[in-house]
Symmetry: C2
Subunit: 158 residues, 2 copies
């Protein structure tokens, strides 16, 4: 199949210098970070004031792109990669919702980061409740793992 080329639009600075320091999900820790976008993209940031939450699409440049199954923090079972949020996946694109704390030109100060310092950013999109809220969603295997009482924090999931 045809390949596509992704060009980073910026990078993110986070407190996490090593993989084992990264929280499994950003909202679990509430850590702050700074997205530094390519300044040539400044016109694309118009109207971002007033937007409170962003989908941050990152590229996990250190990921293993051949891992089709993986172990998660929910238990010892081996899960299918596409049923998890593991960074190790064929196209290792990260998806994290962050809260915008401050916008300073092409620098966005955000809360809820979970990736390594220096991770490339490949897109940002506003979180829109009309589009993105699905409170009825169920992730079957996660519930099952929880029921087994493995003692994992509720919010942790690769």
């Amino acid at each position: 199949m045809k390949h596509f080329r992704i060009t980073p639009i910026g990078i993110i600075h986070t407190p996490f210098k090593r993989m084992d320091e990264c929280p499994h999900q950003g909202r679990e820790r509430g850590a702050e970070g700074e997205v530094i976008l390519d300044e040539r993209l400044l016109p694309a940031l118009k109207n971002l004031e007033g937007v409170t939450h962003l989908f941050l699409l990152t590229f996990f440049h250190l990921a293993d792109r051949h891992r089709l199954q993986t172990v998660t923090p929910h238990g010892p079972e081996i899960r299918g990669t596409f049923a998890t949020r593991s960074p190790h996946r064929p196209n290792p694109i990260g998806l994290t919702v962050v809260e915008i704390l401050k916008i300073n030109g092409y620098r966005l100060h955000v809360r809820g980061v979970d990736c390594l310092d220096g991770t490339p950013i490949i897109d940002i999109k506003p979180y829109v409740t009309d589009i993105d809220l699905f409170p009825q969603a169920v992730t079957g295997w996660v519930k099952k793992s929880k029921n087994k009482g493995r003692g994992m924090p509720k919010s942790i999931l690769y």
Copy 2:
């Protein structure tokens, strides 16, 4: 900056053969479609049974990657691309939540599609309410447009 290579993991069949047939957002129309994944990735689909909603990451292969500002269905104003969900963006990755209706091997029958028939799929991730629900999120300029009473359906947004 360094580029990254994305290899499609499959394609999606939808009822939409022309761009002007596509709904602005999938949940607005509730149209059904079929994701056909690369069969070599079948092991990665383990545990998808019991998952009700997926983030579908698509690649808008026909998009204009140089459009930094755009007009949306919310009004005549020109908005910054990164404050909108427009498919025309530097890395034209689409993000749509779909409901899984049926899984048949590497074919997923889903509801809530919004892209052209034949659009490449680059990742799928389970929607997890613990991670992905942000009911407090506000998209300032959308509310403002609504207040102007431009008569756009509430759920329409690029």
